[in-house]
Structure formats: structure tokens, C-alpha cells
Symmetry: C2
Subunit: 339 residues, 2 copies
Amino acid sequence: MTDANRVWRLRRRPTGEIEEGDLSFETEAIPEPAEGQCLVRLNYLSVDPTNLVWMKRDSYIPAVALDDPMRGVVCGTVVESRSEQLPEGAVVSGLGTWADYQLGSPETLQVMADTSPMPVAEAFGTFAVVGPTAYVGMIDIGQPKEGETVVVSGAAGAVGSIAGQIGKIHGCRVVGLAGTPKKCSWITEDLGFDAAINYRADDIPSALDEACPDGIDVYFDNTGGEILDACLARMNVFGRVVTCGQISQYTSAEGWSGPANYGSILVNRLTVKGFIILDHMDRYPEAIGTMAAWMAEGKLKARNEIVDGLENAVDTCKRLFSGEHEGKLMVRVEEIAAG
Amino acid sequence: MTDANRVWRLRRRPTGEIEEGDLSFETEAIPEPAEGQCLVRLNYLSVDPTNLVWMKRDSYIPAVALDDPMRGVVCGTVVESRSEQLPEGAVVSGLGTWADYQLGSPETLQVMADTSPMPVAEAFGTFAVVGPTAYVGMIDIGQPKEGETVVVSGAAGAVGSIAGQIGKIHGCRVVGLAGTPKKCSWITEDLGFDAAINYRADDIPSALDEACPDGIDVYFDNTGGEILDACLARMNVFGRVVTCGQISQYTSAEGWSGPANYGSILVNRLTVKGFIILDHMDRYPEAIGTMAAWMAEGKLKARNEIVDGLENAVDTCKRLFSGEHEGKLMVRVEEIAAG
């Protein structure tokens, strides 16, 4: 069985959260690459809130078809190749599946640049999706100016924790919302946020009033829902709402609910802009280069929590919605030794 | 009593629609201009949906104070002046009050350019607020491209009827929503909209599906509410929502309700941008020049409905919310004879 291929397949669309039986863990044959393809051994699997959307419905990309392998952002090693662009031995990343072995092509995977001295897992966790998402969202859309107030929801999450630090680097007052005292301590004490609000314990509107005495200029929205509504009510004129995620709505079985304070968009002449990082691949070189420099200077910290075992992929994904982790969650299937 | 000054004063904040007793019609002394001010004889009063917001609450400008004269966009003639910039005899426009005679200053009023051969009333009705609003909203924010689909709510209203025509001038398929068969005929037969939806009679979602087989690229939102929600659900990727008004919400006594399909902003990477024309005074020269040329070429039609008598100002304003008019509503207090 050492060569057997373990594959998570989507069997049923979750209605609310992911439930037992929505995915099944199969043991299958290892596929053969056709001309132009390669066979990839999965090393690391990124789990992201958007995975739940992919299970549920068509969105910015089609839903995963029922009975297909679950889609994910992957980092792996080419073990057999019929594609010149993806040679045997190359470490690659891109869109793949939740499977030990999978076929890839240059349309979905690219060879990762040398990440040393950063371990591959750290570079993949920080730069494959979440870092560029935080960078493009905060800099291109949020356009933070020195002295402005930035609020970030999901602030202890993978994207939010980086987005808030980018706000600090731009000289803003940065306030984060997170769901536990531990997360609140992490973002203020380790990451330098000016204030943290525990959205499960605090009264969100009055906590925002206290933390943002000059109103809000940039709201980096990872959650939607009640926090979005409270922020809309406190936006300054010409404020920017960066619509990066709506995680409070992803697990809803009843359909989404809109913000009652939508009218603030008109009254305060806001710009609300949604984005998906896949549309901004041209920004990756600048984003990664700039963030790597910030990290080297100690201005930016990224935390990756690595869970071992592909068999734990579903449980790890569920933790994204229970609010029990800080930073980026990923699954290690097979470590890549330092070059 | 010929010199007496009739003034509408705000006595109570409307909760839902404007009701008897919310404003009172007083006869008062004509005020005296101080240094730097002038005395203006009101000729035309613009009534606009935003007037109701000014009565109710602080928004992009403070609410009208209780017992103060009601605020409005006015066109008048300077009858006495202690301001060099606003000389006696000048026809002026800007922010004033619902009163026969009122004080003005260069901070609130400007001398109107010669409008001939267009009558002053027509020029004021078309260019003081609604034309530039439609122009800036559609061109700067909507950014319509040839072949795209534009949807306009409040399409038989003052701004919407012009915004839709600007979409046609840019080579778009333009669909308007209006509240009566007569309005629907007007926008399709007289103004050249490609399709009209009677939002009171038709099922909005299925009517939009039929009228917009290729989805919606630009939604010019004058209404908010149910139409906004249905449009959000049909926006194409990278679509633009021009948030110009939320008239469906202005009369609500229960607070505003947000769009359930807000998540489309993320999924379809929309840009939703609110604007108030007062922020865009620098765009007036281009907007007026371009629209005047379009009107001379017969590409753009503007309809002004003029109601006589300052005593009818409140009833005329109420008509904005009952959906019984087409184009721009204004009140004539004293005609300006053609120069």
C-alpha cells in the first residue's frame, strides 16, 4: 500500500458547516500523466475559508463537482513529468487537489522560486495565497494613508494578521477584531496592532467607538455580518471597504444577510471593492519581494500552523470556522527537506 | 403684504414619509443682508429626494435644524447686494431655502452662466444638480463600455432618465426600471432605452433575466432595496454599482435594510461606489458642456416638470416618493423672462 493514493472526494454539498460524510477519504490508484502533464507528490496543502465556498456553490470559480477530488492550493514535488515546464524534481505550487498524488499541468501549477533561507513550507504558507491577498487588498484597494484608522476583521487569521501589519507599516492606527483573548493578545503584543476587540465577548459597536475615536478610514473585511454592519456605520467620508472575505456567511444555511448600514456607502461616499487574488497574479512579484524584505527587517511576522497528515485535512479545514487558530493553517503530507 | 416673505420651516422630523405638520408655511419679514451677503428673490426651487433625508437626519450634510427654513437647491435673482461677487440683478443658483426671499453669500451661491437659448428654468432644472449627477455617476464611476449592459433604477426620474441616455450614447444596452406603464413607455419610446421593467407590476428577478441575457455590467442605483438585491445577483465579473440614491429606503420608518446579495461584491469582484455631486463641482464645466452639446445634437433629452407656487413645495416634494412624475420636478415661484 505504500504507493497507494489517498484522495479526499466531495460527496455531498455542505449546507451549513462541513459535516461527517460531506467528503470521503478513498484509497485509489496513482494516476498516469498524459503528454503535457506531470505527476505531483503532495507536500503541503493550504486550507482556506474559500474551500467551503468551493464545496457549496459556483462562485468566482465553479464549485467542485460531486464525487471529484476536493480542490485546494497545493505545494508538491514533481515525481514524473511529461511537461518541459514542470520537470521531475521541481517543487511546484498552484491549484491542485486533496490527494497524495495528482496530475498537474502548466495551466494550474508553476515552479516555485528558490525560497532559501526560508523553509519551503513557510514560503508556501505565507506567499502562495495569504500574503499577496493581504498586500493587494490593503495597498491597492485600502490605500492606507499615514494617520488613518484601519480596522481588520478576522485579524488573527492568515490574511488579516498580515493586512493589519501592513496598515501599521503605513503609519495607520490599526484595530483588529478576533474571537479569543489569546488571539487579541497575539495581534496587539506580538504583531503591534494598536487595539484588539474580542467580537465574541465585547459589544462590537461600543468597542469600535472606543477603539476608533476618529472613525474608520479603511475597513479590511474578512467576515461580513455584524462586524461589517458596525464598521459601515463608523466609516469616515471617502472611506474604503476592502471586501476580501465574508466568512461569517460561509457556514450559513439560510442564505446570506446584507448589512443594514449599506446606506453609509452613499452618505459617506465609500468605495466598496471585492477582489479575488487570482485576478492579481501580476502583483505577486512586488508583493512577495516587498513582504520578504519587511520580514527580513522584522517589520512583518507571519505565523504558519502546520498539521501533519492528509487524513486530517477535513478536520483542519473545519477549524477555520471554529475560530481556534492563529495565522495560516496548512496540512503537511510529506516534508520537503531544506535544500 | 406684497413684500411679505413666505417661508417653509421644518417643525418636526418625518419618520416615514412627509406628513401634515412636519413643515409649516409662515409669513415673515424680508431679511436684511449683512456685509458680504445678498438678498435673493427665489425664482425656481428644485425638489429632490435627498430633501427628505435632510429633514430626517444628518447625512453628507447636517440635517436641517428644527424650526429653520427648509433647505433646497434654488435659482433666484439678486435684488439687493452687499457682495461684489453676487451683484444686484444677477441670476444665481446654489444652496438656499424654501422662501420667497433669502440671504445668500458666495459660499452658497454662484452666478449662473448665460443659458440662452435655453430658458433659465430648463438650464437650472437640467444642469444645477441632476445632469452633472447623472454624468459623473455614469461616466466617472460606471465607466460604461460599448456593448455592455447598463441597468438604471428610478429610470424615469430626473437623474435616472439622463443616466440611461448617457449609457446609450456610450453604445450600451440600457434597461430601466420605473413604476408605471407610462414611465416605461417614455423611457423606451422617447428616450431610447432598450427595455423597461415596471417594478410594481413585473417580477423583478425574472424581468431582469429576460431584459439582461448577458448579465449586468453597470447598475446605476437610485433606489436600493429589492431592485438593488436583484441586480447584485446578476452582476457580471468586475461590474460597477453606482450608488447615487437609495430612495426606496428614505421613507422607511424602520431603518434601512441591506441587500441579501451583498456577497456578490466579493464573488464577482464588484466596485460599489457612493457619491454626492457636491464633491465633484470640478466636473461641472465638462459635464454641462458635453451634455449641452448632446442636447443640441438631439442625443439627450431632459424633461422638467414645473409646478407653480411656493405654497405647493411640500406637496410637490411628496410626489417624488409616490412615483407619479417623469423627469425633474421643480417649483416656479416667479418666472425669469427670457433675456
